[in-house]
Symmetry: C2
DNA sequence: TGGCGACATTGATTTACAACAACGACCATG
DNA sequence: CATGGTCGTTGTTGTAAATCAATGTCGCCA
């Protein structure tokens, strides 16, 4: 895995954040959505918008934790590496997702940009202090953490007890739902900005198995493969496989 | 630092809870450990100690969430079932562990007793109200949730990217550390109160593979298999395998 | 004491997926 | 418009673990 130096570009030089947040497409989905106006303004002051190009590293397992983020734009992959190079992707962060729920310890995983990414970045300490002074925010963080935990447990079932086809069906439908929630409208076309290897490392498969299984699903008319995505042709059958 | 005294477990008292908690061996490890005396007394009032025999069901995926628990004694398995009966154990709860971090949704999984179990049971609503009024408690819950999340991510790596021997080695050493933390002293003998099938369903293997792998490890003099447990003979080599 | 039932072990065989290998599509760049 | 790079597909072979099938061990209780 190549470690590109994280090239950070400050988005709006003079931090006129009010405008930035007002137009934010991710607001209602993220931590910010929980706040009253007054509290929200306080949080905005801590906000530093940052852009990363595709493949840039946001942080890695070793880095001391200095920041927390909410993704505004783009897709981030979160993963762990074994000493011999095997990789397990533990999640894909989409717009609205929060990175840095564990305020205490190290991040525990690496994060880099799959596509070009825009995040709101906060100093970990400032954000932590802020949370401690705003129980509603703490509550929101806790709810997000337990939600993440539930997802992680689902993923354990998938990794431990499902075959390749079930894994892919679940993955596709899960992503479809998440995109729908973000854009506000559901679509039969599922955008897959991540590569086959990323999907493989998320599902505990090899790239060849992902490719073969996807193409078999296409042959079986469950899906059609399109550039950077798939189109769902038989949602019913796909869901039957996913929740089998 | 902690010094646990007597192992006496006085359960049934019709709720003179002060005494119960004072002698509680799990206190410092659990949610209770975070509280000042005054707040702690308030929490005690909500407490209902309950015993379950081995194999008893604490709750399941479908049950509406009425209670949260901390385990005081014994071992609880937490698992999810697929429609066709495949099972994934998502964790084993040991003394000090908290069940019911997700205060909002359903439990999302089943829990039953591996051994005889004693828990402190709280009404979900009372506990939730209490937490909302005690930010330190909320903070503690959040810390526990993020800790759980980190463990879940470790488990994803294990399930997705490790072979049978690595899985068993990690499992054994992980359990050894947890028992050490609970009892205050580490031991080369690791108690395994759960059966082979439970281990298999936790590690994403079959019972046969667990049995074979464990016995191969014994043949290789990494461990010795004893009734209801194993004894670590070559910790260094075992750890090398576990973190390979 | 003997027999039943739950659990664990062991062996033979099959299989889903990994690993290896080659090739094709796409596109950036000189 | 060649050239090299990344990424995805497809074919072949190999293997770890699943599956199928006995057999063994232990505790319980009639």
């Amino acid at each position: 895995m190549v470690h590109l130096s994280g090239i950070e570009t400050r988005q709006h030089g003079a931090c006129d954040c009010g405008d930035l947040c007002r137009g934010c497409e991710a607001r209602v989905l993220s931590v910010c959505g929980s706040l009253e106006d007054e509290a929200f303004v306080g949080l905005q002051k801590l906000n530093h918008p940052v852009n990363f190009p595709a493949r840039a590293v946001l942080f890695n397992q070793e880095t001391p934790v200095r920041h927390v983020f909410t993704v505004v734009h783009g897709v981030v992959r979160l993963y762990k590496l074994l000493p011999d190079g095997r990789r397990q992707i533990v999640g894909f962060a989409l717009p609205g997702d929060f990175l840095g729920l564990a305020l205490a310890d190290g991040y525990g995983f690496c994060a880099d940009a799959v596509t070009a990414v825009t995040v709101c970045r906060f100093s970990r300490d400032h954000f932590g202090d802020y949370a401690d002074q705003h129980p509603q925010m703490l509550r929101r963080l806790h709810d997000m953490a337990t939600h993440e935990l539930a997802l992680a447990q689902q993923q354990m079932v998938l990794l431990g007890r499902r075959d390749a086809e079930e894994k892919l069906a679940s993955f596709l439908l899960g992503l479809q739902k998440r995109w729908a929630r973000i854009s506000g409208k559901s679509s039969v076309t599922i955008d897959l900005p991540m590569g086959r290897q990323d999907i493989a490392d998320f599902l505990g498969l090899t790239i060849e198995t992902v490719s073969r299984t996807l193409n078999r699903m296409a042959r079986d008319k469950l899906i059609v493969i399109v550039p950077d995505g798939v189109r769902v042709m038989d949602a019913a059958r796909l869901e039957a496989i996913a929740s089998a």
